[in-house]
Symmetry: C2
Subunit: 376 residues, 2 copies
DNA sequence: TACCATACCGGGAACGTTCCCGCTTGCCAT
DNA sequence: ATGGCAAGCGGGAACGTTCCCGGTATGGTA
C-alpha cells in the first residue's frame, strides 16, 4: 500500500555549545571544584559540633534518647555543610540496602511499562529504590541480571520470566539465599513461589463466551508459545469455553503464530479464509495479530463484526484508536505491579515464616464494536 | 458511539495455594534456613584457605601479582561457599557505586519506555546498574527523586524534566556535587548542561514543508505547553516553515491544547471546522490529538488527506495501525537513551575537565497516507 | 658473598554508617 | 544517706571491601 518515505535520515550529529556558553560554564565549574573538596559525612558534623558520631547518627534518625535542641543543632549543621547521607554505608552496616530488583523481558509494548509504573509507584511509597534490568527474552541475560541484583544486595526481586527460560535453577538460588522472589505475569511451573498473575483462563473464557452470545459458532484462535503459562492458560480458556458452549473444537481453526505480530496475524487470517468453511470470529492471544487480521478483512471487504467478529487480548492503547474499535482483555498492569510489591513487602516483613502466596487478578473484558453485533 | 461495556469488573482476589503445595513449600523452606546461616564473605574464603583477605580480594579481581594457581583455588572456594560479592561494601570502599540514576516524568506512552530501553541496554553494557524513578510530572517528587539518587551515591543522573518544573536549583545542586547530569528530551533553559534532544524544530519544519509540497496552504497547529523546550521548538519550526514557504501565519489556526489527548484534539478540530475558512491541513504536536481530529473528520465525511491532510508527532506505534496511517515524526527514543548514556560516560571518565555537550538528533519524518495526496 | 630486583602475599587502615555497651548527671523514693 | 532509674551522650566495634605499605622468599648479577 502506502510506503512510508523518509525525508530526513541523517544520523546523530554532535554540536558543542557556542563559545559564550562555554565561558560561562568554566566559571561555574571552578566554583564547583573549590567547594566540593570533600563530601561532608556524619563525622564532619560531629567534629564541627564537638559531638560523638553516634550522637549525630541518632540525632539524624530522630532517636528518642537525644535532646530536641541537640537534634536541631545537628540538623542545622547538616544543611549548612550540605550533608548527604550515604545510603551505601548505611546499607552495609544495617545489612539491607533498601533496593528492590526488577527484571522484565523487555521495556516495550504497553504492558510491561504499565506494570513498572505500578511497581515504581508502590515501591517508592514503601521507601524502596527500584533497580531495573531487562533480559531481552534471553535466559543467559536473565541469569546475569539476577546475579547482578544479588550482588547489589537487593532485598527482593520481582521478575517476569523470559520466553527462553526452561530451567529454574537461578530462581531457586535466589530463594535459597533467603531473598524474596515474586513473579508477575509470566511465571515458571514451580511450587513454593509467590506470584501475581492475571486470570488468563477466565479472560479467554469470557471473550469466547461473549462471542458465542453474539451468535458466533466457528471461533478461530491465534495462540503464542505454549510453554509460557499465559499462553497456555488463554488457550485452555478458549477450549473450555467452547466445550461449555457445546461447540466443537476444530484444530483447523487454531494457529500457533511464530510471533505475536501484525504480519503473523494477517497471514493467519489469510489461511483461515482459504478454509472450506471459514470462521465467523477470530480471537487472538494478543492485540497486534488481531489488527493484522482486521486489515486483511477490510481489504477483502469482509465486514467486521457482521461477517467475522474480532477480539484481541491485552487492551493495548491502540485498540480504542482503530476502527472498528477492538474488543480486548484488560491485563491490569498497574494493579499487577502494585500487587507484586505488596507481596514482596509481606515476605520481607516476616522473612522467617512466609508462605508463598499467589494473587490472581480478575481480567476485565472490554467489549467494543469489533465484536458487538446486536447493538442494543 | 459504542460504549465499552464491562463483563468482569471484580477487584483483585487473593487465593492461597492448595494444601499439598503448602506442605511442599514447608519442606523447601526448612532446607533453606539451615543452609543460609550466613552469607559467605571474602573473609570466609580467606580463613578457609589460610590466606589473607587482601590476597583473596586481589585474586578475585584477577590482579597480576597473584599466582595463577592461588587464583584458581580462591575461585573454586568461592563457588563452593556460594560467595556473592557485596556491591555495597565495594562501592563504599572504592568511592563509587556503579549505579546510574534515571528520572522520567512517567512510565507510559511509548516514548519514555523506548528511551529507557536504550538507557538500560547501554548502561548495562558499560557495567552500570540503573536505578529508576518517576516524577509524575511533579517538581516536588522530582526534587525528592534527585535527593534519593544522590543519597544512593549514583555516579550520574539522566533526567527528563517534569512539566511543572520552573526553577532549577535541584539540578544545580547535582552539578555542584560533581555528579554528571544529563538531560534528555525535556531540558531546562540552563547554560552549562549536557543534554541530548531531538531537533524538534527541524522535525516540525520538515512536516510543514511536506504539507506545503502536498498543496496545503492553510495549515493549523495543535501545540502543548510552551514552557517546555520541545513544544516551543516545534511551534517555532511550524512558524519558520510557514515563513519560508511565504505563507501567512494565522493565529486562528493555532490551538494550545489543555492536554495532548485525543479528546482535546477532537475539540480543537471541531473549532477549526467552524472557522469561516477552515484549514486544509492540521499538524499536531503529538499523535493522540491528531487521532481525535481524524475521528471528527471521518464522522463528518471529510476526506483525509484530500480535503484535510493530517500529521502528528512522536510516531507512536498506533500511527501505523489506524487508517489512514498517520504521518508523524520519529523521535528516536532508543538512540536518545543510548546517546544520553554515552554522554554520561564521557563526563564520568574525565570528571575533572568535562565541557557540557549537547547532542541533537535528526528527526525522521514518516510520511504516510494521512498527508500524502499525490500518490505517485 | 653481598646485593638487588622481582614475584607473591600479609597486615591493617579506611570508606560512612549503625548499634551495643557503658558512663555521667539529675531526680525521686526508700 | 543510699539506692535505683531514666535521660542523654561518648567510645568503639562491626559491616565487607579495597588499597597502600610493607614483608619474605627466590633468583640473578656483580
Amino acid at each position: 500500500m502506502y510506503e512510508a518515505s523518509t525525508l530526513e535520515a541523517n544520523s546523530a550529529s554532535n554540536c558543542l555549545l557556542p563559545s559564550p556558553h562555554r565561558a560561562e560554564f568554566r566559571l561555574v565549574f571552578l566554583k564547583t571544584t573549590t567547594l566540593a573538596t570533600k563530601q561532608a559525612s556524619i563525622t564532619t558534623i560531629a567534629t564541627h559540633l564537638g559531638l560523638a558520631v553516634s550522637t549525630v547518627s541518632r540525632a539524624l534518625s530522630d532517636h528518642a534518647n537525644i535532646r530536641e535542641d541537640t537534634k536541631e543543632r545537628v540538623r542545622q549543621m547538616a544543611i549548612k555543610l550540605n550533608y548527604q547521607p550515604n545510603h551505601l554505608a548505611a546499607g552495609l552496616r544495617k545489612g539491607h540496602s533498601g533496593i528492590l530488583g526488577v527484571v522484565v523481558p523487555h521495556i516495550s509494548g504497553s504492558f510491561f511499562p504499565t506494570v513498572m509504573h505500578g511497581i515504581e509507584k508502590m515501591a517508592s511509597k514503601a521507601g524502596f529504590h527500584v533497580m531495573l534490568c531487562q533480559s531481552n527474552e534471553d535466559v543467559k541475560q536473565e541469569r546475569a541480571n539476577i546475579k547482578m541484583l544479588l550482588n547489589a544486595q537487593v532485598e527482593g526481586i520481582l521478575i517476569s520470566m523470559s520466553s527462553t527460560t526452561y530451567d529454574f535453577q537461578h530462581f531457586e538460588k535466589v530463594q535459597s539465599q533467603g531473598v524474596p522472589l515474586v513473579f508477575f505475569d509470566r511465571m515458571p511451573d514451580m511450587p513454593s513461589t509467590s506470584a501475581v498473575v492475571l486470570d488468563d483462563h477466565q479472560g479467554a473464557f469470557g471473550v469466547v463466551k461473549h462471542l458465542v452470545e453474539q451468535g458466533c459458532k466457528r471461533i478461530a484462535f491465534f495462540s503464542g508459545p505454549q510453554h509460557l503459562n499465559i499462553n497456555k492458560n488463554r488457550f485452555e480458556g478458549y477450549v473450555d469455553a467452547l466445550e461449555s458452549s457445546s461447540l466443537d473444537f476444530d484444530p483447523q481453526l487454531v494457529f500457533q503464530l511464530p510471533d505475536l505480530s501484525k504480519a503473523a496475524g494477517a497471514e493467519g487470517m489469510n489461511l483461515l479464509l482459504q478454509l472450506a468453511s471459514p470462521p465467523d470470529a477470530v480471537f487472538s492471544s494478543y492485540d497486534l495479530p488481531a489488527v493484522g487480521a482486521l486489515e486483511v478483512l477490510q481489504e477483502r471487504n469482509i465486514r467486521v463484526p457482521q461477517d467475522i467478529a474480532l477480539s484481541g487480548f491485552s487492551n493495548e492503547p491502540f485498540t480504542t484508536l482503530i476502527s472498528p474499535r477492538l474488543t480486548s482483555v484488560e491485563q491490569r498492569g498497574e494493579l499487577m505491579g502494585e500487587a507484586a510489591v505488596r507481596l514482596f513487602l509481606q515476605m520481607h516483613k516476616r522473612t522467617d515464616n512466609y508462605s508463598p502466596q499467589r494473587i490472581m487478578l480478575k481480567p476485565q473484558i472490554e467489549v467494543r464494536s469489533s465484536s458487538l453485533r446486536n447493538i442494543v
